[in-house]
Amino acid sequence: MADIAAKIPNFKTNVRRRSFLKWLFTTGWRHVLGLAICVYAIFPILYILSTSLYPNNDINNTTTLFADVSWDNYDALLANEDGNRPFLTWYANTVIIGLLTSVGSVFLSALAAYSFSRLRFRGRRGGLMSLILMQMFPSILGLVAIFSLMSDIGQVFPQLGLNSQLGLVMVYMGGALGGGTYLMYGFFNTVPKEIDEAAKIDGASHARIFFTITLRLVAPVLAVQMLLSYIGVTSDYVLASILLSDPEKLTLATGLQTLINDPYSKDWSMFTAGAILSALPTVIIFLILQRYITSGLTAGATKG
C-alpha cells in the first residue's frame, strides 16, 4: 500500500476524493435520507414543544419555532391556581391506571400465550384465531354496551362501576387477551422447550417453571408489551371520557381534553405544556427500551 502511495503523487487527495464519493454512495446518502426522515418524524414534536414554551399560544397559529422561550405555561399548569385542573392528580391517576392495566393485562396474556405455546388442547387453533378476530370488532360501537354494563355493575358495586378508575382498569384488561397474546405466543415459541423439560425432570411444577423460568426468559418482551400497553392507556380518551367524570378522577388524556373543550376559550397554553409533560416519561422509557422493542414487536410474527 505504502509503496503505491509513494509512486503516485496525487494519490492521497485522489483517495480522499474517491473515498468521499464512495462514502457518499455507500453510507453518505443514508445519512442524508436519515436526516430528512428525522426532520419529518421530530418536527411535529418540536412544534408542540415550542408552542408549549410560548406564553399565550394558539396551536393553530404558531409560525416561528422557539420564538419565545419561557416556563410560564408549565408554572401555571402546575400551580393550578383556579383549582380547575389538578394536573398532578391526573398524572398520578394515569400512572396508576396505566401501571395496573399494563401489568395486569401483560400477566393475563402471558398466561394465555404460555398455554397456547406449550400445551396442546382441543380448540387451541380456533381459540387463538378467535382472539385475533375479536380485536377486529369495531370497539368504538361497543361504548353503549360498556357504559350500560359499567352502570349495572356500579349499581351493585359503586367502587367498580361508572366513574371508578378500578372499573376502567377492568375494562382495559378485557382487551388484554386479544391485544398481546398472539405476539407473546410467538415469543414463547422461541424459548426452547428443552428448558421446560429439563426443569420438569428436576422436579419443578408447571407453575414454577412458568413463573421462575419462562417468564424470566421473556422478561424484555414483557417489558416492551407493558410499555406499549401503558402507551395505549395514556392515549385512550374515548373509553376514559365515557367512564370517568369527576375532575379529580380523570386521566391525562381526558383531563387535558377538558382544557380545550370549551369552544370559546381553548387553553392551548396549558394543553401543550401538559401534553409535553405527559408524553415525556413514556418517550424516555421507550428510548431506553428501544433495543428490545424491535424484538418485542416482531417475535410473534417472525418466529411464530
Binding site: 394558539d58 357504559f147 352502570s151 349495572d152 356500579g154 369527576d246 375532575p247 370549551d262
Partner: protein, 411 residues
C-alpha cells in the same frame, strides 16, 4: 382427601374476609343529584351550596359531566334508574330530544300560575315541548349587531346600507352557522319551522317556498364578498382595528372585545368604542329576529319507580330561577338573567342592556331533530354563501325536503 382439605381452607378464609360486610345506612336527608358540565358547575356551585346549607332536609351533589356527551349518558342512565334529579346548564334545544328519549319529567303542576311572566319573552316556553314544561330557565344568550363606533358613528337601519366587506360573522366552511345567519334569514320572513296558534314551534319546516328561495338567492348574490370568508380567525382584530364595521356576535365575545386579544392588544370600550345595536331591517323592510338560546335546569325523570326527590328538586330549581340567584349569577359570572326582574336590575350594565334591548328574539326550536337540523341546514347554507351552488333556490328547496325527511323519521 387433599382436594377436600384445600376447598375447606379456601372457604374458611373466604368467610374470614367476608365478615367485613357493609351496612347500608338509610338517611332521612334526601340527596338531590345534579349533573352539569364544568362551566355550569363553576357558575352555580356557590348558590347551590347556599341552598344546600339553608335546607336541612336536603343535600345536593353536583356531578360533573362532559357537555357534549351528557345527553348520551343520561339516556343510558335514566332507564336504569340511575339518572340525576336535575340536569343543569342544559341548552334548551335539547328538550325535545330528551323528552323523546323518556328521560325528562314534566313540571307543569309544580309551577305557580303566571310563572312564565317572571321570565323574559319565551324563556319559559323554550322549556316546553308537546304541551308540557320540563324545566326552568337559567340564563340566556342572543346575538346582536355590534358596531365599531369610530368607523360607523351611526347605526344602520337597513341591511341595504351595509356594503361588501363591512360585516364580520363567524361561520364554518362546512356546516355554516344557521344560528348566526338566522337574522338574515328572517329578513325574508322564512322562519325555520312554522308555529302553531299558541306561538310554539311545530315540526313542519317553514323555511321552504318562495321566501326561503328568495333568501337563498340573496345569500348567493351577497356571498363571501359581503359576509367574509368562513372560519375567519381575524374577525376580532379586524373589528377592533375598524377594518370591518359590524360584527354579528354575542356576549361571549365581549371580554375579548374590551380587553383585546389575538394579537390586537387594545380593546374597545362600550359607547365610545363599540355599540350593541339591533339588527337592521331586511332589503324589503322586514324586521329580523334572532334566536334566543337558554341554558336552564331540566327535571330528569327517575326511571321506573322512585320519584321521591321531585319535591326537593323542584324547590332547588325554583330557587335557581329566582330573581336573587339569577342576579347573583349575572353579578359574578356575567350570565344574562332569564328572570325579568333580575334582568332589569342587571341593565345598569350597558352590555347586558345592549343585548337585551337589541333582542327581537324567538327561542331556538327544541325539536328532537335539532341536531340533525343544524347540520343539514348549515351544509346547504354554507355552500350557497361560498358560491358552490349554481341554483341556490333549488339547493335550498332540496335542503328543506331532506330536513323534513329527517324530522319525519324521528316521529
Amino acid at each position: 382427601m387433599k382436594l377436600g382439605k384445600i376447598a375447606a381452607v379456601a372457604v374458611a378464609s373466604a368467610l374470614a374476609v367476608s365478615t367485613f360486610s357493609v351496612a347500608s345506612p338509610a338517611s332521612a336527608v334526601q340527596n338531590i343529584v345534579v349533573w352539569a358540565d364544568k362551566g355550569t358547575i363553576d357558575t352555580i356551585k356557590t348558590k347551590v351550596q347556599a341552598w344546600d346549607t339553608a335546607n336541612a332536609d336536603y343535600t345536593v351533589t353536583l356531578v360533573q359531566k362532559d357537555f357534549s356527551t351528557v345527553r348520551d349518558a343520561l339516556k343510558v342512565a335514566v332507564p336504569k334508574g340511575q339518572g340525576p334529579d336535575i340536569l343543569a346548564g342544559a341548552a334548551h334545544d335539547w328538550v325535545g330530544n330528551l323528552v323523546k328519549a323518556n328521560v325528562l319529567l314534566p313540571i307543569d303542576a309544580q309551577l305557580p300560575a303566571n310563572f312564565k311572566d317572571d321570565f323574559v319573552g319565551g324563556a319559559l316556553q323554550a322549556m316546553k315541548y308537546n304541551g308540557h314544561y320540563y324545566g326552568v330557565p337559567g340564563w340566556t344568550e342572543n346575538i346582536a349587531f355590534l358596531r365599531n363606533v369610530k368607523k360607523a358613528p351611526t347605526r344602520v337601519t337597513s341591511i341595504n346600507q351595509v356594503k361588501n366587506g363591512e360585516i364580520g360573522i363567524n361561520y364554518s366552511a362546512t356546516t355554516s352557522d344557521p344560528y348566526h345567519f338566522y337574522p338574515f334569514q328572517t329578513m325574508f320572513d322564512a322562519p325555520v319551522f312554522t308555529t302553531d296558534s299558541g306561538g310554539d314551534w311545530t315540526e313542519t319546516v317553514g323555511m321552504g317556498g318562495t321566501k326561503g328561495a328568495n333568501f337563498a338567492k340573496w345569500l348567493k348574490s351577497k356571498g363571501t364578498a359581503f359576509f367574509g370568508k368562513p372560519a375567519d380567525a381575524k374577525i376580532l382584530c379586524n373589528f377592533l382595528n375598524g377594518k370591518i364595521k359590524y360584527w354579528v356576535t354575542g356576549a361571549w365575545n365581549i371580554n375579548a372585545i374590551e380587553s383585546g386579544a389575538g394579537g390586537c392588544k387594545t380593546g374597545l370600550k362600550i359607547g365610545t368604542g363599540y355599540s350593541i345595536d339591533p339588527f337592521p331591517k331586511g332589503p324589503t323592510g322586514i324586521t329580523p329576529k334572532q334566536f334566543l338560546g337558554i341554558r336552564g335546569y331540566l327535571m330528569v325523570a327517575s326511571g321506573p319507580g322512585n320519584t321521591t326527590n321531585v319535591a326537593g328538586a323542584t324547590l332547588l330549581m325554583r330557587y335557581m330561577s329566582s330573581e336573587a340567584v339569577q342576579y347573583s349569577l349575572y353579578d359574578n359570572f356575567n350570565k344574562t338573567p332569564a328572570n325579568k326582574a333580575a334582568l332589569n336590575r342587571a341593565k345598569d350594565n350597558p352590555v347586558i342592556k345592549g343585548f337585551a334591548d337589541a333582542a327581537n328574539t324567538v327561542p331556538m326550536p327544541n325539536s328532537p331533530a335539532m341536531d340533525a337540523a343544524w347540520v343539514i341546514w348549515g351544509k346547504a347554507q354554507t355552500r350557497i354563501i361560498q358560491g358552490k351552488e349554481a341554483k341556490p333556490d333549488v339547493a335550498w328547496t332540496n335542503m328543506t325536503k331532506a330536513l323534513q325527511t329527517a324530522i319525519n323519521k324521528l316521529n
